[in-house]
Amino acid sequence: MADLRTNLAGITSPNPFWLASAPPTNSGYQVQRAFEAGWGGAVWKTLGDPILNVSSRYAAVHFNGQRVAGFNNIELITDRPLEVNLKEIYETKKRFPNHAVVASLMVEPNQGAWHEIVKKTEAAGVDGLELNFGCPHGMAERGMGSASGQVPELVMKQTNWAKEAAETPVIVKLTPNITDITATAEAAVQGGADAVSMINTINSLAGVDIDTWLPIPHVGGKGAHGGYCGPAVKPIALNMVSECARNSRINVPISGMGGVSNWQNAIEFMLMGASNVQICTAAMHHGFRIVEDLIDGLSTYLDDRGILSVQDIIGKSVPTFSDWGNLDLNYKVVARINNDVCINCNKCHIACEDTSHQCIDMLNDPSGNAILQVREEDCVGCNLCSIVCPVDGAIDMIQLNHEHPPMTWNERQTLIGSLKDKKVSK
């Protein structure tokens, strides 16, 4: 069996699956249950001045009968005194010395406050610290969480303050509620962060009740924006991880999270540069037991490929992720419909006809059977038909031989630019 042990900036854990700082890591009872179930690490629900929560805190987005495509919460950080949490952290660490216990921290942007909480927390025996610069609701209104996380100087300064006092690795958790996450990731690195983690939740309003006209969830008739997570945010998170991973100025390990729901998702994040993954929504949906298949699936995947350690996949796909301008304009794929497999639902036809390039014809074969056929010369290789097709193997996207040698947009513009001063007057 492949070695699943991971190391994030010196924090080791038996496997790459950590519970993210969130309701599942609220208490020692929960974290210990998680470790018993097999989780490799846990980031404790954010420590700070104990807050007050409201009742009616979560909402989910269900899509076409699939529950929890997305998840929204307006819960804040821990509502328990620091000493209570630290005592439980100490006990947990004692029971599970090889598991990673990381404390998430959030205090006001003040050097003394950061020094105090870092020292107290480390005294409880944590393996590392995660600075919560991402929580988008409630705490942000008080100048903490994503309010600091959106300002690169504040990220740098606070990271610095934490680092001044810290002896364990400091991870900076970033908010996605920003145009370019690499800006704050870089600021964290400049502030001395040993690692960055992303993404925290995305500002969201889960829905509006169309009968009562109230926001979902509402608290006695009023709602406020929450933080969005779950499967729906995975592509957003994966992009942010990838953007940081391929940025040479962000030269620290990344802990990836945001919609990771299964072992495949975990592999995707790790291939794109995450040293481990953090998970919350999937555990909230199904319980801690999901970790069994996360581990089993990952290890089978590695074994099947003869990969000895999970660390060997970290970042392996990063070089394939680039700017649009570096993509080959002359690479061409076209759709091919396998009429033996096709069930003639005609969804590809109508999708192409109405919303793409009108290149799938509904025809009859010589014996009069309905068939669908792609006019390849008009197919732009958009993939839409194969996306809407409900049957595996009915539509293949086939790569055609290069008609012209590979040429990226950037290369093309350079080429055309080389004819400069020879503008066509028209």
């Binding site: 040698p405 080429l415 503008k423 066509v424």
Partner: protein, 76 residues
């Protein structure tokens, strides 16, 4: 007419000049697509004739880019 047909016509026009020894001299791209300036030098008279083609289809614009690459590579 399908876009592919447009492309085939444009390609034919481009090939027409290339086959007659014209070289791509300049390219201007704007909201209307691309304008290629072809030039052909008469070796005897040293006179240059100029032709301009308006290329609208994306495949046409990829096509002349490939030809331009070839032209530059043959020179160097």
């Amino acid at each position: 007419m399908r876009e592919h047909q447009h492309y085939l016509i444009e390609r034919e026009k481009i090939d027409y000049f290339i086959d007659r020894g014209y070289r791509i001299h300049g390219i201007t791209e704007n909201l209307s697509g691309a304008f290629i300036e072809f030039r052909l030098k008469d070796n005897k008279t040293d006179e240059e004739s100029t032709e301009i083609l308006h290329i609208q289809t994306p495949d046409g614009r990829k096509y002349f880019s490939a030809l331009l690459l070839k032209q530059i590579q043959t020179v160097s």
